[in-house]
Amino acid sequence: MEMAWFIIVTVMLAMYVVLDGFDFGVGMIYPFVARTEADRRTALASIGPVWNANEVWLIAAGAVLFFAYPKAYAAGFSGFYLALILVLWLLIFRGLALELRAQVDHVLWKQGWDTAFATSSVLLAIVFGTALGNLIRGVPLNRDGYFFVPFWTDFRPGSDPGILDWFTVLLGLTCTVILAFHGANYLAMKTEGVLHQRAVSVAWIVGWVSVGCTALTVIAVPMVQPSLSLSFSRNPAVYLAPLIGVIALGYSLYFRFRRRDTSAFLAGSVFIFLMLVSVMFGMYPYILVSTTDQALSLTVFNASTDSYGLTAGVSWFVGGFLLILIYQIYLHSQFLGKTRSDDVH
């Protein structure tokens, strides 16, 4: 049961990154590719009906983490206090930008929210990548199961780390370029004309940068967290997940080259999904690794709620998850194809 909920949290987080990831990516490349007001409206309309539902995956994943592993939720959220409040403020600005831009017809109003949208999208991608880096590297958990990390210490992933060090920053950057690639692929799939052309060019460039960053990350991870590669070598069959992920990235670039927009987007989604699944598998059974003493680490076993709670949770989660899939598939199916220029509310 502890493992089942670990898989559920993993899948929900990976769904979040794949789905909200593309609208983050659109936000990052938006100031460069959408230069006229008409193009900006089309770009925003392409994510308009779906971004909010995408963001819900984060909220729901957080709540499921709280439910299944209260101890890890308590430790992680209070330990990353400063970074998480920063995330909240950025999410507020980003949400406001998307909702309020169309409300007032004034050039400065629109420019202001455009800047807020792009900036918050980039910063959030960096913070989320950094957060993943922190989970892989570990945190200085104390005997009571709590920790508190400052924004930085000496920028080295040692026993007394900060939120930012060279490794977590590398993951932040990797996450950012990969999501920029993802967003550019999405925009290329959803638009036509000049906007489409620009999205394609951006995707081609950041796609190759993503390859470079991914390679660096794959080299860096075993250096910082040897236990991750240990769990892989214990069970070599799961090498398939990152392997297929990397192949999917290759295919995504190939489809990009052949101008098959939808295939490029889907292959990129598979890449992101499998990379996250690989990391989470490598971490299992750890949720929060201690940098000071391995015995203080929080695992799916010592951080979980009791077995009645986990079992009762399954009973409603199965039905709930099916409902989510129905709403989401219905919603996305209603807005398939190129975004129409009259799609402005």
Partner: protein, 452 residues
Amino acid sequence: MTSALLYDRLQFAFTATFHYLFPQLTMGLALLLLYLRSRVLLTGDEHYEEVADFWTKIFALNFGFGVVTGIPLEFQFGTNWARFSNYAGGVIGQTLAMEGVFAFFLESSFLGLLLFRKRFSRRVQWFATLMLFLGTWLSGYFILATNAWMQHPVAYQVAADGRVFVTSLSGLLTNPWLFWQFTHNMTATVVTASCVVAAVGAYYVLCGQYLPHAKTFLRTGVVAGAIASGLMIFPTGHGNADQVFKYQPVKGAAFEGLFTTEREAGLYLIGQPNLETMTIDNPIEIPGALSILVYKDLYAKVKGLDAFPRDEWPDNLPLLYYAYHVMAGLGTIFVLLFGVALVSLWRGWLFDMKWLLWWLMLCAPFPYIATSAGWMTAELGRQPWLVYGLLRTSQGTSPLVHSGNALFTLIGFLGLYLLLGVLFVLLVSKIIRQGPASTDVPAVSAHHRTGS
């Protein structure tokens, strides 16, 4: 009280109160919108469609602000109340996760459809509104189930390590506390929405603008408001007070200002609690009324604060007392106002009664105040407990988040939400100024429109 605890409490209280300004309108408005869209579907009436479209715009704006201010609440359980999360996550994690899975996806997916509604038929628009109504009310249900457990813990066991775990999911979801809390709270959202709808209608009538729409707003708001404000007092308000005196007698004594246990206990309508003398100064009192309300017996003994140890008293007594009296006082005023408005509407006088329209227009902010005061009553009255009788608030904070960090983020939230408030007022007044789409735009407004 250590300063970190104070800042943690202030931050949660402030962000929760500010957040709830938005959902209380969207939940109530969802019900009214469902009524309006049903009329559109049944009669094909374009007038009602314009009315529904106008309120959908206001709904969407409120919903957006509700979403962005709602995320910090779930995060704060972990960031500022880590020991509470660790302690009680095995119970309230269930309801919070269910809210995420069952309510949030429903709301956000169908709001996405409704925002781009021009692509869809009326039937789909009606269906999306129904789903939004279900989503927002389900969300309210799960959050209230969470709060109900903190007010009146049921279906749990304490494990060897001192944490609590749920023993029966159905027991948690059918907490006896929840029934009156849910009905009272959800009826309050209808009061807020009705008041706002009626106020905008009154504003247009007083300006002589959009008269057909304004009259529909007034009719809808006044009828719904009269029903809902009546239900607020009886049976839902009464039911709530009953269970407070039954399960949390010290809270009841505190908010009524009853310092000493007595028979023929009076009900204070007004007066100031004095903690030096332990009396109510300058009281206006209905003798014996409290005994009758609580026990239906004039001679029944009602426990006062003196019946409880001092360290179980709510720690901010005057604020609790005033919050409760503001809520109850405003609730009574709403019944009077909507009662008069309903009679005037029925007799056909309402649209010509300027003074009453002024009252209805100026009434708009007051349900927000009443609701906030009501929640302050519930939450301040729960103190000093975080989980009633089980975990004290001082035991729930994050051990390693020090006061400087908490103060910094509290100030940050204050500044950010001030900006949000300004933006919201700006945008909602813009929507109201633009008015519902109409072909017979009055002269003043037409001039205004060509100018913009």
